[in-house]
Amino acid sequence: KYLFSINSALGDQAYVWNENEMFLFRATLAFAMRTYSDGQEYDVANVVVCDETPRVSFWFVVTSPLDASLLVDKRRVEEAVRKSRSRINSAFLLTDDTLEFIGIPPTLEAPVAPDTPPWLIAFGVVMGGVGAGIVVLLVSSVKRDGEEETGGKTENEAASDAIYNMSFSDDEPVTQM
């Protein structure tokens, strides 16, 4: 079954659905069957449409070009339609949303996947910078400690500000006998 939503897609530039448009549809479908199915010469006459409604939706079947009473298997029709979906869509200036084919999910475009995920590249940059920073700081620490040992005594005094020693004296009084 096919559902056309022309107005929603095109708005002002919508065309009117008429017999000619239906002819175009049958022709594109015949094209699809010719190219993507078994290669037989399908004609417009092989695409039979029924139950057309003003909504612009209808059912269709495809008959074999060899024998008009033989219906082509649904799955082969579906496959042909799926493969030529973009051609059919563009013939009617519509998209997968506005030209709905009930039962055939559209084959979506696979997104371009880069070889290395971008986040891994950013990660490399960040880790490189951080690693370099750590190494620089550690090396300068070692150098600084080296200088201090060979240079004067280490700073061991308390700060120059007055420090009131607040340690709570827990020692036993010495004069207990």
Partner: protein, 611 residues
């Protein structure tokens, strides 16, 4: 006890203030306060918040600054100076710092992951990936949303419950390593290095928030968001949970009890005006919360309005109606949608069809109050809003850099709390600070690998709920009681007079002696009773559950209760535990000391006799 290493001090007063601001202002200001504000009556929430800021936050802050500056030591040194039996408080602070630091830095690892993924257009969480045979979007993503999928599947790869570990997720391990490496780089020499880094990490968030505010105000719907946030509902003031949440928010927002503030103040010159500092930091912290809330809600308002407009557009609904009833295009439009829906619904067969259609309803308020706190706010709601803004990668990078800075500056205090405690205990007396910091960072990283499992975020939620909450309240209560009654409030007043030239006035006396400890005690009791009386549950992401994508609520398995007891109990019990240890030590050593003294005296007597 004084430190034997060369005395560290601040490069400048600005460094000290920036470090304290950075420590206090953290992720909670951005993703907890706005939610509390909005859910507890908007503008009305300011009232309990400011009241508790004044009666609970500032006194505690002043207390920690003062004892650190006076006793010139980290938390362990300070408490053993006040009374040796109270050293346990310092140990508790150190343990809590360690646990909190572990899980807090994991959040930074998540922020790092999102930051690293922001350097591509379109952003990876803006669309669903395709399934294997390229016929449709991945089912889990289609049923929820691209941002949900990116967070739960591509970031966390979350399992369905805490019992399923799911194995280490290698990309998370890398991000965790990156986060701990950045932290180590900044903390490598303690305040020497962090003092310089805070010029960036403490100021950048404000710059970014301002940029987002300006950007946000130009977007449609931002004013709706601000109105929603601040519209006061004074009835909420009658709700006790409003006051409880405000008190808890003030308390945790100031990062009290972890020992970082005490340690930072100990590097100050002894006559520094800590009273002024406490007031300044409190004001800045409060202001930042309100400012951040405003910014967040301009963006949330924008997002909600966009969702509402899309919903109202009813394009999908109209199409569904047309298809279901095979109507000609144009019979149902946005204008007559409601009418037509009613007409079609009035027939029995029509209403049956309509029920089966699952048409969506639109309500701006539901979009505005959409689960917006914690990681959900940052990694789901806000990221979605960003994808709808032009030049999304730029805003994404800015946002996550801001979050990283906010969290990193808080981590400085946590690491300081642990490293300084280790130094005070003289566990490794000769080892330089670089090595101790390295050991702390490495061991935290290794234990934190648990958060990179498939069940990692459930573990993190566990730590978040229990490792910080209860022990910190106990520590803060003991701090106030310890200073006011064990050390003696008179002695403390004299110390402050010595430092800043005047005794603290009656307001501070009342706060320290009675009001603030009482507030903390009340919060603790209510919280404790709540937790103990209810079965503890957690929320999980389960694609095969019935209500997917609504998160499933599961009860914790029994063995988790043991872990909770350890997390909350170990630090809390360290306080009485260490006191007990000291008592036992005294009893056992009494006899040996006496013997030595006797020997010395008799030796002296003998000496004099033989003369």
């Amino acid at each position: 006890r004084q430190r034997d290493q060369s005395p560290l001090k601040w490069g400048s007063k600005t460094q000290y203030l920036l470090t304290c601001v950075g420590f206090c202002v953290g992720l909670g200001n951005v993703w907890r306060f706005p939610y509390l504000c909005q859910s507890h009556g908007g503008g009305a929430f300011m009232i309990p918040f400011i009241i508790l800021l004044v009666f609970e936050g500032v006194p505690l802050l002043y207390l920690e600054f003062a004892i650190g500056q006076r006793l010139r030591s980290g938390s362990v040194g300070v408490w053993s100076s006040i009374h040796p039996y109270m050293t346990g408080v310092g140990i508790a602070s150190m343990t809590v710092s360690f646990f909190v630091g572990m899980y807090y830095n994991t959040i930074l690892a998540w922020v790092m992951w999102y930051f690293l993924n922001s350097f591509q257009s379109p952003l990876p969480w803006s669309q669903c990936p395709l399934n294997d045979n390229l016929t449709d979007l991945v089912s889990e993503c289609k049923r929820s949303s691209p941002v949900d999928y990116f967070w739960y599947r591509e970031t966390l790869n979350t399992s369905t419950s805490i019992e399923e570990s799911g194995g280490l997720q290698w990309w998370m391990v890398l991000c965790l390593a990156a986060a701990w490496s950045v932290l180590y780089l900044c903390c490598i020499r303690g305040i020497e290095t962090t003092g310089k880094v805070v010029y960036i990490t403490s100021t950048l968030p404000y710059v970014v928030l301002t940029i987002f505010l300006i950007r946000g105000l130009t977007l449609k719907g931002s004013v709706e968001g601000i109105k929603f946030l601040f519209t006061p509902d004074l009835n909420e003031l009658l709700n006790p949970s409003t006051w409880l949440d405000a008190g808890a928010q003030v308390f945790y927002s100031f990062s009290l009890g972890v020992g970082g503030l005490i340690s930072f103040s100990s590097y100050n010159p002894v006559h520094n005006n800590c009273e002024q500092d406490a007031i300044i930091i409190a004001i800045i912290n409060g202001f930042t919360s309100i400012f951040a809330a405003t910014v967040i809600y301009t963006i949330i308002g924008f997002r909600a309005t966009k969702q509402f407009d899309d919903c109202l557009n009813e394009y999908v609904n109209i199409l569904m109606l047309l298809n279901a009833f095979d109507l000609v295009e144009g019979t149902v439009t946005e204008i007559n949608y409601d009418e037509m829906l009613q007409n079609l619904n009035s027939t029995i067969s029509g209403s049956e069809v309509i029920q089966g259609l699952d048409l969506s309803t639109c309500n701006l308020r539901t979009f505005l109050s959409d689960g917006v706190e914690g990681t959900g706010l940052a990694f789901i709601v806000f990221t979605e809003a960003i994808t709808k803004m032009p030049i999304s990668p730029l805003w994404s990078v800015l946002f996550f850099v801001m979050l990283f800075c906010l969290g990193l500056s808080t981590m400085f205090g946590a690491i300081e709390g642990v490293v300084v405690a280790i130094q005070d205990f003289k566990i490794f007396p000769t080892w330089p600070k670089e090595v101790i910091s390295g050991i702390v960072c490495l061991s935290s990283f290794l234990i934190a690998l648990i958060f990179s499992l498939g069940s990692g975020n459930y573990w993190l939620a566990l730590f978040d709920s229990y490792a910080g909450s209860i022990p910190l309240l106990i520590i803060a209560f003991c701090e106030m009681v310890g200073v006011a009654y064990v050390y003696g409030i008179e002695r403390f007043n004299k110390d402050i007079e010595f430092m800043i030239g005047h005794k603290p006035n009656i307001f501070w006396q009342a706060m320290w002696r009675v009001i603030s400890p009482l507030i903390v005690l009340v919060i603790f009791l209510i919280y404790f009773v709540n937790e103990v009386s209810s079965t503890l549950t957690y929320i999980t992401w389960n694609p095969s559950s019935e209500n997917f994508p609504v998160l499933e609520i599961l009860p914790y398995p029994n063995w988790v209760y043991i872990i909770i007891l350890l997390l909350a109990g170990l630090p809390s019990l360290a306080i009485p535990g260490f006191a007990l240890y000291k008592v036992l030590q005294k009893c056992c050593c009494k006899k040996t000391i006496k013997k030595l003294e006797l020997n010395t005296v008799s030796a002296n007597v003998n000496m004099y006799d033989t003369k």
